[in-house]
Amino acid sequence: MFTPEKMSRLLIVASKDQMAPITGTLYRTRLFHIEDFVVDGREGYDGFAIGRPLEGASEASGDLVKVRALSNVFSISAENVEPAGRHRQSDLKKVIERELATIGNETEGLTARRSKLEASIKESEQRIAEIAPFAQIPVDLSFYSGYERFSVIAGYLTKNVTIPEPAEFRIVKGKTSHFIVAVVPNENRSEAERQLGEAGFTAAPIPAESGMPQARIDDYQTKIAQARAEIDSINLNIDAIRQKHTDFLLACEEVLKADVEQAEAPLRFATTDQTFVAEGWVPASSVADVTAAVMKASGNKAFVTELPVDAHDVVPVEYNNPSFAKPSQFFMDIYSRPKYTEIDPTLMLSIVFPIFFGLILGDVGYGLILLALCFALRKYIKGEDGEYFLKIIRNASIVSIIFGLLNSEFLGFPMGYSPLSFSRHLRAEGGGHGPLIPELLILTIWIGVLHITLGRVLGMINHARQDHGEHKIKAILANFGWLAVMWGVLLLIWSAVAMPLMPDLTGFPVLVTVPGLPMDIPGINVTMILGGIMILAGIVFIARDSILEVIELPTIISHVLSYARLMAVGLSSVAIAMVVNFISIDMLIEPQLEQISIVGIVVILAGVVVFILGHALNTALGILGGGLHSIRLHYVEFFTKFYKGGGLKYNPFGLKRRFTEE
């Protein structure tokens, strides 16, 4: 529960002819996390080489490429499709080749036609662009070419120009440049070009067309429209084919992917001429099952044994949590998966996170809105991570409602009874009293002290489990030292000042009277001396482990005070709610209700809008504030005391089938 799933290292040795059945079995059981064989001259692995793929690997990959190409044409992706039913793998394999070919042929013609049409549209557009400048000159396009003694020049000018006779020219004036078409006798051509060059001439091609320009443009535009219509109908056809075959294609992809992965598994095994060795990790509870399955598949012709786990082994990590704590694994993976030898704090996170969230956003109204939002978003957010996230928010909002009942808050309004917890109401209305800031502050400080103490204790346990020799003792003592300093500081404070909700140690007899201390402290008493000793001893323990850590001592105060955000962020959300209520109801709606007029109704509507927008904003801030600050308290203040992370994800060889079955 507090540690990851226990893993065993399994070694499978068999002759090469057993490779296919054994990989098949391992794939089916989906428990064996293969440790890739690397040729690194390890002792005992001389003469081993990386294995070759099984037979049929290349055909399967070829088919897989085809399937994926088709899926690409149809833009199908497995994540967005809910499986309608399961195809039997054996049935599928019989028809795969034939069906793929048929679907391929069906779509190939259509996609080829589509690309051809797209190309023709491009070409027509190009032609239109060429003809367009000539459209202003009502001359048949065929007249622009086919002369022996004349040259036709067309292009753009930046300045106006006049070409002397014998030449004929037309200029179409534009905003920034003018279009010119000129017909000059061949012998005058160079002279005309010089003149044009001075006017900033750039040549334009003369379209090889016949007919009036506007008519030609219209022709091409009809062509484009026709092509577009045909493309639309092709897309409809492709869509129909897609709908018919989506399930089949995804099932094929799954089967072929399984085939390819199995066929390529030997690339991760060590092999000799006759045998192969597969090494990997299996949950300790499943060792017997895997062994039995491998034995059965190979007809007892394999050797399976459990290897001892070395301290330096990188063991894959699989969470081992009760089902209610599983969603919190999402937050753990965002930070980092625990190492195999580490305490897994998921369970604590799953309990404490909603409580923190509730402390911050303890409001029945916002809790209900969030809960409704969670159920509404279920339709749209898919996938394991998304589900986990929604479940976390759901739990958090339920706790938020509970805290809201304790706080007697509904969208910032008091609910008609005085709060059962420390009041967060900013105004003393509805029979309650104003906010109990000192109590709330000290409550959150207590939470911080306890949470950090828990973190440090876990740190000691982690060091006891992970380290060896002298360093182990030093590291454990350093963690103890941090605790001693923190509680020492607390003792000092308790002996100096009396505070609500905190033990009052000021009553102990003063041993040494020191005049002139701040806050009327008469002198040093027993508990102060004890606190001082704890602080000094703690610093010594910390320094023994690492002298540099001593400069981190102020973080004891800042980390504990950081938990004050539980109160501060919560109060700011209460304040925003209160302000929204005040503006919308007290300022806009209520005065108008006394004497209803047409303007009044508009003002009332404005009030309603302010109310809705304001509370929507506060809900969004509540999710951000409540969620982000709660998780941050875990990540920054709690985890840094004991948690390193960086574990390797347990990724068993096999496939979670969605569209097919054996």
């Binding site: 965002i334 800042s558 950081s562 955000r565 501060a568 962020v569 109060l571 600050h629 941050r632 920054v636």
Partner: protein
């Protein structure tokens, strides 16, 4: 007689003014505490935030880590808020 009445009046007024201005100073202090720490947190998060977005664009797995780094300076403004609340209510 009359002089004495005026005298107590002035004394009462002076006390009232003193109390009110003390309240004003408190409000000012609370506002400064939240406002200045807010600016501080903003300035601190500015650099981290832009670097974080860059890092996430390069490698999505870093999201969790950079989120933590980005919210670390948030503590500054929380301290400011706590100081303001303590000033105002305690």
């Amino acid at each position: 007689m009359a002089v004495e009445v005026v005298g107590t009046d002035i004394a009462a007024q002076t006390v009232e003014i003193a109390v009110k201005s003390q309240l004003g100073m408190k409000a000012l202090g609370a506002g400064l505490a939240v406002g200045l720490t807010g600016i501080g947190a903003g300035v601190a998060e500015m650099g981290i935030g832009s670097a974080a977005v860059g890092a996430t664009a390069e490698n999505k797995d870093l999201f969790g880590l950079v989120l933590i780094l980005t919210v670390i300076p948030e503590t500054i403004v929380i301290f400011g808020l706590v100081v303001a609340l303590v000033l105002w209510f305690v």
